[in-house]
Amino acid sequence: MLLSFLPIPDQASTQAVSVDTLFLVFTALVVFFTVLVCVVLIIFSIKYTRGTKADRSNPLDGSLKLEIMWSVIPLFLAIGAFGWASHVYFEMVHPPADAMEIHVVGRQWMWKIQHPTGQREINELHVPVGRPVKLTMTSQDVIHSFFIPAFRVKQDVVPGTYSQLWFEATKPGTYHLFCAEYCGTEHSRMIGSVVVMEPQAYEEWLQSGTTSESMVAAGERLFRDKGCSGCHAGTSSVRAPILNGVYGGPVPLDDGSVVTADDMYMRDSILLPKKQVAAGFKPIMPTYQGQLSEEELFQLIAYIKTLK
């Protein structure tokens, strides 16, 4: 690449290119202003050092014209920079609808990852090249941050909520995975690698493991074992909502408001059932706080999503 003499790290995602372009243009602007001010400073310093001969007649104590000029020009540049940067940002926040979803659970001091097929890995993330990947992440303890420098992406992983991050890898290879939010003693050991593979190789890798069941199958098993089906299976005597088709749709609540049934809503319904009660039902669902691991929650939600 033409700019390869610049200290730009590996670019291995679609985002990396747009972020670096932005970065380089900002750098050009910054260098321009720094040099401008420094050159003027140096000229004045040399010219007006005490004892040198120089024209010091009609000095300027202030000038409204100049003040306006050097307030307004930076202002417009700042607004322009803001506009462009925000445009790049908006492309980065919204994952494409067809992105493949992988689940990440952070804990002191490791990353636990599960693929839809059920394949699990620790401190390693295998992804196919050329395909958008969406990570849904949470933490079991403190705040961590999932950071892949070569992709220019980073997202805090916060206990009690789901956060998302997406990317599309463009270059096969092995890249750093770092925890970027200080999380205690072995924060700097909470590292791993992201392995970007050709789609074919990725499929083979998925098959190669010792996975017994997919996430959905695990979720279905939990739905039975944890007694959810006892209430939610339609045939039961308890009046509880049938979960078919709930995911993604609007849910009217008993306080009259309507919310969208996303992952967070599912999570809250299971852990904090009293927080949002579906309209027309009694708040009899027991809380599962402390009885389900973060991984099991992901599996249950994955299963509920498939109920159509």
């Binding site: 910054v30 940002y89 770092f178």
Partner: protein, 548 residues
């Protein structure tokens, strides 16, 4: 206020004996520890912030030593984490926040406005004691076990997971906060009520304007910080859920509260330095500050807008993208008044007559470093870039350029400028110049590589790191060694000058401020006669055209 000068304004009272000044007004320990003289209290602060600077500096040395190699071979994980926490907490809360305001501001504001003291001298002494109590708490924590949360105390790590003495340290920061609040209050009342006759608002030195803006932030922001760290301590001790989701709390709430104070707090650190720089540039170029009103109002603008940008520290925390955009936009805006100041200082030199004394070298160093620090803030304001560089060494470099390159350079420049006034002695100019240049060089060698290693992806607060980051880290440590030595020089020659330095005249630099119209060191009552101000600030005689 019953000075002789006040009762007999017509005939200036002669001092009982020449050389009778605030330093000779009692030599006992008690005369210092119970003093109500703002100048002596300034000295008490000078000694205490210097001690904290040394402590923070030692921690930094250990950090840089460890980072020479990628492996963790000097310190354990635990010790490393405690070191950067001690470094951050001490440097921010116990050195930088009080440095310029409590040392130079305390000493100079009454002198600059022609007053005998601050409005509330007892409160002023109380502020120092509060600061010392808070400091001792924190030091005790550091010596008896340490804390490992980072100076940002992010929850729920700090409140529920860390096994170190977080509650104690939080109490220390909480207590010290009150010292800031009281100092800010004292400054504001003093500046409103005690200006000498004729000293209108727009005749005030810019140093005073900057401290006025700083005091506003101290009063409005610090209570939020104090309550926030208090909540952390409450959650830790009583397990009342505030920030920990396992207890029904919200961990991100902490970050909002923390940065609501701590972003404005960065202006508590830089605005006073900007005030110092305005004084230095004017004095050593013999010119009034270009666009005085713009500089004065930009301080206030920075203080005000500074309260609206805290969310730029949360771009990757999961805050709504729309909120992120608003914070990003306002952050871009706050850069503008900062830019204005730089342009104005530069323009001041036009058709000036510059003398290159040590303080002026610091002022130039400040300009260069602050420029880089401020402009790199724009990368961080752009969310798309910030996502990549937040929590990496890029951010570390950014804020060190501002807080060390800017605020500490301003502090040292100010110390050199007013040292003759404070002590009545001149320091050795040659040594001082060499140190100033070394500090500038060492600083750049230490922190510039961190921009690059940050962009390469090295996260901050990493005890061990990937091998490809080593070269830049070695450079950084080399720079830090230069910097460490260079910082030590002033300690020696300042102390040396107390005994052997040339006696300073009352106005060694030929400056205009009121503080230069009283003897060096000033008498206990500051002025024999209340000065009357009839001129604009920085009113230097017209320089003769075509000549020096």
């Amino acid at each position: 206020m019953s000075s002789e000068a006040l009762t007999h304004p017509a005939e200036p009272a002669k001092h009982a004996s020449a050389g009778d000044n605030y330093l000779t007004n009692g030599f006992s320990l008690k005369s210092w520890l119970l003093t109500l003289d703002h100048k002596r209290i300034g000295i008490l602060y000078l000694i205490s912030v210097s001690v904290f600077f040394v402590i923070g500096g030692l921690a930094a040395s250990l950090i840089r030593l460890e980072l020479i190699t990628p492996a963790g071979d000097v310190l354990s994980h635990e010790t490393y984490n405690k070191m950067f926490t001690v470094h951050g907490v001490v440097m921010v809360f116990f050195f930088l926040v009080p440095s310029i305001p409590a040392v130079l501001g305390n000493f100079l504001i009454p002198l600059m406005i022609g007053a005998r003291d601050l409005a509330f001298p007892r409160l002023n002494l109380l502020s120092w004691y509060i600061y010392i109590v808070g400091g001792l708490f924190t030091l005790t924590v550091a010596l008896t076990g340490g804390i490992d949360t980072g100076w940002t105390f992010y929850t729920p790590y700090s409140s529920m997971f860390s096994n170190t003495y977080v509650a104690m340290a939080a109490v220390g920061v909480f207590i010290t906060g009150f010292s800031s609040i009281l100092t800010g209050l004292n400054f504001i009342v003093t500046i409103h009520k005690m200006r000498a006759p004729g000293l209108t608002w727009f005749r005030l030195p810019l140093f005073v304007w900057a401290h006025y803006a700083t005091s506003l932030i101290m009063i409005l922001g610090t209570p939020v910080l104090a309550s926030t760290v208090a909540l952390v301590a409450v959650e830790r001790v009583f397990h009342i859920g505030v920030f920990d989701p396992a207890l029904g709390g919200d961990p991100i709430l902490f970050q909002h509260l923390f940065w609501f104070y701590s972003h404005p707090a960065v202006y508590i650190m830089i605005l006073p330095a900007m005030g110092v720089i305005s004084e230095l540039i004017s004095t050593f170029s013999r010119r009034p500050i270009f666009g005085y009103h713009f500089i004065a109002f930009s301080s206030i603008a920075i203080a005000a807008i500074g309260f609206l940008v805290w969310g730029h520290h949360l771009f990757v925390s999961g805050q709504s993208p729309y909120a992120g955009l608003v914070f990003s936009f306002i952050t871009f805006l706050v850069a503008v008044p900062s830019a204005i100041k730089t342009f104005n200082w530069t323009a001041t030199l036009y058709k000036s007559s510059i003398s290159w004394d040590t303080p002026m070298i610091y002022a130039m160093g400040f300009m260069g470093l602050f420029l880089i620090g401020g402009l790199t803030g724009l990368y961080l304001a752009a969310i798309a870039i910030d996502i990549h560089v937040t929590d990496t060494y890029f951010v570390v470099a950014h804020f060190h350029y501002i807080m060390v390159g800017g605020a500490v350079m301003g502090y040292l420049g100010g110390m050199h400028y007013w040292w003759p006034k404070i002590t009545g002695r001149m320091y050795p100019e040659g040594w001082a110049k060499i140190s100033a240049v070394l500090i500038f060089a060492g600083f750049n060698l230490t922190f510039f590589p961190q921009f690059i290693v940050g962009y390469w992806g090295m996260p901050r607060r990493y005890h061990t790191y990937a091998a490809e980051f080593q070269v830049l880290n070695v450079m950084s440590t080399a720079g830090a060694s230069v910097l460490g030595f260079a910082y030590a020089f002033p300690v020696f020659y300042f102390l040396w000058s107390l005994k052997y330095g040339k006696k300073a005249p009352s106005n060694p630099w030929g400056a205009t401020g009121l503080e230069w119209q009283t003897p060096s060191p000033p008498p206990t009552t500051n002025f024999d006669e209340v000065p009357v101000v009839t001129e604009e600030p920085y009113h230097y005689p017209m320089l003769e055209p075509e000549r020096v």
